[in-house]
């Protein structure tokens, strides 16, 4: 089977169960949003996939083959981490050159163009970069590898709004020209929602949602109105959660909407991914 398959992965750090029997399949040529609160297990899952840490149980298959200590399969994956794993004294242009050594499809011209668009000075050393530019240089490296599977762990960490916007534009451009599997693990869901095709939500080390964004969004809706009316309306519904402001209440509901059954005074709207995420992971 093509893609990255994680089968029954478990990982404990002492008494902390970081991953509990996680099974998930990242298919080819899709953009995934790997969402979860702090400490939910997102980075642990990505680190297990890339073999940076070892799972206590389960396995990771890349295109049907075990990825464990397998250079060929590991070479199909590039993971951009929140932390920097490049030598601090290395210049950015040398990082690009070395990445080309390990990922022969690395596009030096594309990396150069990308660096210009972000105004990244490639003569700078890794240690001289600010948090934002450190993320930028790692993003450029990741997207220029042309790896089949690109894993981005908190890709927009420290980036200002303009750079975040530029990154998502470039990601879409890149994906349109040369589709690959991109897994974005991020806290900034609202901004990433526009590019995510498929959502995997992790909570307390377990996958609680694994479906397309469309499918997930179609499963719920938001109802806003007077508190009493909302309480009556949601009494027999699968309620994810509510927000109250003065006498106004907003309810987040899972299930099919029967428009005919919506009483006057209640406004129905689509649920956005961030709202749904908050409600799903708060419970």
């Amino acid at each position: 089977m093509s893609g990255i398959e994680v089968r029954n992965a478990t990982k404990n750090f002492g008494s902390v169960h970081a991953l509990k029997d996680v099974t998930v399949h990242f298919e080819e040529n899709k953009i995934y949003g790997l969402l979860g609160r702090n400490g939910a297990g997102k980075s642990t899952l990505l680190n297990v996939i890339t073999g940076r840490i070892f799972a206590d149980g389960g396995e990771v298959l890349v295109d049907g083959e075990s990825a464990l200590e397998n250079d060929r399969e590991l070479g199909k994956i590039y993971m951009m981490s929140e932390k920097n794993y490049y030598p601090e004294s290395m210049k950015i242009r040398d990082v690009f050159a070395w990445t080309k050594e390990f990922y022969p499809d690395f596009d030096m011209a594309y990396a150069g163009t990308f660096a210009e668009r972000f105004e990244l000075n490639t003569d700078k050393r890794v240690k001289a970069l600010s948090t934002g530019y450190s993320s930028i240089f790692k993003l450029i490296t990741a997207l220029s590898t042309n790896a089949r599977y690109i894993l981005l762990d908190e890709p927009v960490l420290g980036l200002d709004a303009n750079h975040r916007d530029l990154f998502y534009k470039i990601l879409i451009e890149k994906y349109s020209e040369n589709p690959s599997t991109v897994i974005i693990s991020t806290h900034l869901i609202e901004e990433a929602a526009g590019v995510i095709e498929h959502v995997v939500i992790i909570k307390d080390g377990q996958v609680i949602r694994d479906e397309s964004r469309e499918e997930l969004m179609s499963k719920g809706y938001t109802a806003t109105g007077a508190a009493g009316a909302i309480d009556r309306f949601t009494a027999d519904k699968n309620l994810l959660g509510t927000d109250s402001l003065g006498g106004l209440k907003t309810a987040y509901i899972l299930g099919k909407l029967d428009r005919a059954a919506v009483p006057d005074g209640i406004e129905i709207s689509k649920m956005d991914l961030q709202r749904l995420f908050i409600q799903l992971t708060n419970a």
């Binding site: 680190n47 840490i53 070892f54 250079d71 932390k83 390990f102």
Partner: protein
């Protein structure tokens, strides 16, 4: 392909420190020869290691500097390259393979360079009165070196230097991996405990309770391992160093097999 890339990266990583080392070495030699040339009568030489009585002044056993340098290189050769290579999708076994290629290449390369320095140094020293330039091999196996022809001595000297360098850098490599795998408490315990036990507790107990039995056994083992019990046969030393390399290479592989990338 990945093996080649892993080897190239790790070899490249050593280029700069080796270049700096030889630049310093060159400066020391230049300084020593210049001073000796200007004031031959008052110069007493830069003696790096002198465990034997050599009349006059000069350079003795300069390869000892390479031994110390390579040990330090070994101690600094894991964490950064492990992180960089893991970042680039290289497995641990390929990282290890690349490191072994690097250790062998660097040891061989530096043994060759040291041999060239030794030959050049001997040539220059031969034109200066009272000046000596003696290699580590000649120092350790002086009896054997005196009997052997020049070509044999330099070939054996190269083999000895190479195997010694290889053993030392691999020991350093193993120590750094072992420390990388340990938690903070274990690191402190080993860093403080091992020298304390080996340098204080064992000698004290050996003298107080065992009447020097451990010291004698150690002496006998070392003299056998380096060929002194066999008339100063250097091949004992060469084989011993290669065995040390093999043992520590295996230990390094076993220790790094489950190493994880730490933040």
């Amino acid at each position: 392909m990945k093996r080649k890339s892993s080897s190239i990266y790790q070899l490249n990583d050593m280029k700069r420190p080796v270049a700096i080392f030889y630049f310093i070495m060159f400066c020391i030699l230049l300084f020593g020869f210049t001073v000796a040339g200007v004031n031959a009568s008052s110069f007493h030489g830069t003696v790096i290691i002198s465990t034997t009585s050599i009349s006059g002044s000069g350079f003795v056993g300069m390869e000892a500097g390479t031994v110390i340098f390579l040990f330090v290189c070994g101690l600094n050769s894991f964490k950064e390259s492990f992180r960089m290579l893991t970042q680039n999708g290289i497995s641990r076994k390929t990282i290890f393979f690349g490191r072994i290629i690097t250790l062998v290449s660097v040891s061989a390369g530096m043994a060759v360079i040291d041999k060239i320095i030794l030959l050049a140094g001997k040539f220059i020293a031969s034109h200066m009165s009272g000046m000596n330039f003696v290699g580590l091999f000649e120092l350790i196996y002086s009896g054997h070196a005196a009997q052997a022809g020049a070509v044999q001595m330099h070939i054996e000297g190269f083999l000895f230097d190479f195997s010694l360098y290889l053993a030392v850098i691999t020991i350093g490599y193993f120590i750094t991996i072992a420390f990388y795998r340990m938690n903070k408490i274990a690191k402190i315990t080993v860093a403080v405990g091992v020298p304390m036990v080996l340098l204080n507790a064992v000698p004290y107990l050996d003298m107080a309770l065992l009447h020097g039995a451990i010291g004698n056994a150690l002496y006998n083992t070392m003299t056998f391992a380096f060929g002194y019990k066999n008339g100063g046969n250097p091949y004992f030393g060469i084989v011993t160093c290669l065995l040390i390399f093999a043992v520590f290479a295996v230990l390094s592989r076993v220790t790094m097999r489950k190493a994880v990338v730490k933040d």
